[in-house]
Structure formats: C-alpha cells, structure tokens
Amino acid sequence: MISTNQHLTSSTTNSFIGMNEAITLKKLITNQSIKIENLDVYIEDQHILKDINLTIPEKSITCIIGPSGCGKSTFLKTLNRMHDESPEVKISGKVFVDDENIYGPHVNVIDTRKKMGLLAQRPCPLPMSIFENVAYGPRIHGIKRRKAVNQTVIQYLQYVGLWDEVRDRVRTSATRLSIGQQQRLCLARGLAIEPEYILGDEATSALDPLSTKKIEELFVKLKEKYTIILVTHTLRQAKRIADHIIFMYMGKIIEAGPTEEFFNNPKKQLTKDYLSGSFS
C-alpha cells in the first residue's frame, strides 16, 4: 500500500508539482519511522545481532553507543541493506521502514537505499570533481536536465556550508579538499539523493575537533527534516547531540531511552558500568 502511495506522488511530481513539495506530501502520507522486529544477523557462524526489537523515533537524532565489536555498524548496515553485498551475512527478522518490511519479498533494494543517506566513517569522495560528486546521486536516479542538477548541487553544497569554500573550484578533484571538507561533501552528496533518513557510521571519528563540531551542528539542523541514526564511539558526542540513546553490548540492546534519562538515571547495571568507564 505504501508503494502505491509513492507511485501516486511520483507520478504527480512529473506532471505538476515540484520535487520538494512532492517529498513533503509523501512525508505527510506515510508514517515515517523505523520499526525492527526480531532481527538476527549472522556472519558465517557468528551470531552478531541477537533478537533486536526497536522503534526509532522520527525527526530526531538517535545515537547507538557501545564498545567496539558490539554490532553497532552491523546494525546500521541492516538498515540500508548493504549486507546484500556480502554473501556470508544471513539476516532474519523484519525491518519496517515507512511501514514496509525492507526484507520483504518484493522490495527494491535501490528504493530502500535511496531513502537512507549514509555517511561513512572515513569520507570517501568518488573519483570525480566536487561538483560531480554531489551530482552523482541525482544523475544515477535519472535527473538529466543540467539546470536541475546544477541547482541541486549548489543547494546542498550551500546547506553543508561548503559552497563558499569551493565555489571557484567545484570542477576540480574532490580528493584535494581537506578531510573535514570531504566529510561535509559526502554529507551533501548523501543529501542530494533526497533521503528520508541519515545514517552515520562514526562519521566524525576521522575528523579534527573543529570539523567534528561543524558536522554535529549540521546533524542538529538536519533533524528538523530527517530521521538521523548515528553510531558513535564517544559518549560526549552522544550527550551533546542525541535525543535518544541505544546502548548495545555483545549484539544485544541493553538499554534504550531518551538521552537525559539514559545518562542521569540508567536502569541496568551494565549501562552504569559502561557510563562510568569500567569497560569500553
């Protein structure tokens, strides 16, 4: 039923209303959120994620914390079906995105990924110019008109605060940018596919404090329009920007809740130990 909705909006898009209006319309129609039921993930024989049940609230920042190897990144990858690229990963359970199980039988992986803008740990510009990096998403999804592409690129470069820094060299290679600029470029590139969700996999861990601050500010600005899910290794970052926290340990969700409650009044002993730094 969701797919019919989308079909309806996208066909109207082409005929009379603009892209952005169509997206707001779609957001009004669909119940935008992520619900996970009985999710288990195995990599070869290892049981990586164990019986995850979860609802991720919309238009807010949810941070997933936990010691390294606890399954945070694996969890994030189940949300945009990037595990499809690794045949050794087996997944069971249901992940509902906008009320549609993305592991259901008739789901188009491309549509699912298009809904999820991913920001990886290290910025990885594609082997092309700054402009083409941002134009990549719109182009692969079939936008050909030069004017529309130009407009999208400028809009998102401005949004991440990169336009003024690069406006006179947008046609040069993206790898010549500083690493902080590269990460903002990758964010702009992800936003240009017009996703509904933003996934960040330790997106600031390779960056200096100033660049980290810029990215964090962007996340806070972005949560007005997008549902943001971040994996982070720093508790302070989670405290600074998260609205909700999920604490994972050994492939299980130990505790989840609103940030203030989570930090001030943790309920589980394991959470208390983790917050006090007795393990990390």
């Binding site: 803008g117 082997p127 990549y136 290679s173 790898t175 596919i193």
Partner: protein, 298 residues
C-alpha cells in the same frame, strides 16, 4: 660488533645497487649492439627510404621495411581491439559480480592460459582460426582468402594477450577501495552504474598501463603470429590479406642467405626497429599516463 653490522648493511646496499645498474645496462647493451649491427645498411641506404619504401628485393639490394612495420602495427591493433573489451568485461565480472567459487575456478585458469607456450597457440590458430576465416568469414567479404591473414594473426594474438590483460586488470580493479564502491551502492546506484561511473573511471590509468604492456608483448610475439599470418611481403590492404610482421621476418630468415650483401645488417635493422618501437611506445605511454594523472588527479 656494531661497526661490522653497519659495514654489512652498507655492502649489501652497494651490491644491490650494482646489480640494479647492471640490469638497466642490459637495455642499453642490447640497443647499442643492434644499432651497430644495423649501421652498415643505415649508412648505405637512406634511413627515410628504409622506413617508407615498400620495395623489398634483397637480391637486388632493395630493402624497404614499410610492409613489415605496417604488418606489425595492424596485427597488434586488431589483437588489442578484440582483446580489450573481452578482458575488461571479464575482469569486471570477476571483480564485482562473480561469487567466490567462480573466482577460485577462474583465476588459476587465466594464469594457466598465460603460461601456454606460443607454439601451441600457433598450431591451434592454424587448425581452427585459419580455416574458419578462409571458409566462413572471408567468403562474406572478399572473393578468396587463404585464411593466413592479418585477421588470423590478430585473433591468435588477442587470445594470447587476453589472459595477461585479465590478470593485470583484476589487480587494478581489486585495488579500488571497498569504501568507494560502497559509497556508490549506498546511494542506490546499481552495480552496473557503479562499474561504469566509479570503477572504470578510477581505473583508467591502470587500464592504459595494462594495454601498453599487452601491446608491447603483441609487437614482439613471433611464433604464433608467424604461423598464421601468411608471411607474404606486401602492404596488406584489408584484414583478409596476408602480412609479414617484423619478428616473423627475423625468425624466418636469420641464419639463411647471410652471404647476400647487407642482408644480415637489414635483419638487424628490423630487430633494432622493433626494439625502438617498443621503447618509444613505452615512453610515450608513460608520458600520457603522467598527463592523465596530473590533469585528473582522482
């Protein structure tokens, strides 16, 4: 003790430097000795005439190398035109699509193919490609062809360089960081879009380098080509004409008729030509690669 260790370290370094220089000297030594052997004919005839004349009558003292030079280029060109798409698509398949078990099956086979002696490719070409061209393909385009043609040489050469190209290109594609293809896929690009827009783009210089290596090999390949290309001294006017590449000229004639004046020198000149073609070609491609990398620094 400490001084001894330092001395050993230094000695090892200089010995290896010596050996490295020695290796480079080989190139110079080969080039120079070919040049001096070819010098008599260069002195006697005009270099320009040697290179541009098609008149090859050693008995009358006429040495025009143009047919051999053109044959070499034509055969190699056809080989690379056939081999490139084959090997690019195969390597992309092996790198981005094939399952682990397919890869495990394919890669040793590719390595094996590049280890098969040229004479076997030659025999195979004579038995299959030549009759195929004579009876099936050429009849559609020209009145008559023996099958021993530029095309036959090109096809056999293509089959020979494909394994080389594949094994280099698989490495080239493998060196692309997974994060990069993941970045493309996570934006909802299909595999094919990722291949076209990211993988191939990132690999341009690697593909050019592989092509250069394969072409250098193709220029010099002797036995297999010699067996299927007809060995008639003429400028081939179509791919269904016989041809006579430089290596075949040397291999067929060296050691015979050397009593003829200037004949040995002429053969040495053709060897020198081949040497120069390969060296110039490598230099030129290195220059192009540098230009590409400087301009597009991706």
């Amino acid at each position: 003790m400490r001084r001894l260790r330092a001395a050993k370290d230094k000695t090892a370094r200089y010995i290896m430097l010596g050996i490295a220089i020695f290796t480079i000297l080989f190139l110079l030594a080969i080039g120079l000795s070919l040049f001096f052997k070819a010098l008599p004919i260069i002195r006697e005839k005009n270099l320009w005439v040697l290179l541009t004349s098609a008149d090859w009558k050693p008995f009358k003292g006429k040495f025009g190398f143009l047919p051999f030079i053109l044959s070499t280029f034509y055969v190699s060109l056809i080989a690379i035109i056939i081999a490139l798409p084959f090997s690019i698509l195969t390597s992309i398949y092996l790198n981005s699509y094939a399952s682990k078990s397919v890869k495990r099956l394919f890669e040793p086979v590719v390595d094996l193919l590049s280890g098969i002696p040229p004479i076997i490719y030659g025999v195979w070409g004579t038995l299959t490609i030549v009759p195929l061209i004579a009876n099936k393909i050429a009849t559609k385009f020209v009145e008559y062809s023996t099958g021993y043609t530029v095309l036959a040489g090109g096809v056999v050469l293509a089959v020979m360089i494909i394994p080389l190209l594949i094994s280099i290109m698989v490495e080239v594609f493998r060196s692309i960081p997974k994060e990069m293809t993941d970045a493309s896929l996570s934006m909802g690009a299909t595999k094919w879009q990722t291949v076209k827009r990211v993988i191939l783009r990132k690999s341009v210089s690697g593909i050019i380098a592989a092509t250069v290596l394969a072409l250098s090999r193709a220029f010099g390949e002797t036995m297999a080509v010699l067996m299927v290309c007809g060995n008639i001294t003429q400028i081939p006017h179509s791919i269904f004409d016989a041809c006579y590449p430089l290596p075949a000229l040397i291999a067929n004639n060296y050691g015979e008729m050397l009593s003829m004046p200037n004949y040995e020198s002429a053969l040495m000149f053709s060897a020198f030509l081949l040497f120069i073609i390969v060296v110039l070609f490598n230099g030129l491609s290195r220059f192009t690669l540098n230009q590409i990398e400087r301009r597009y620094q991706f």
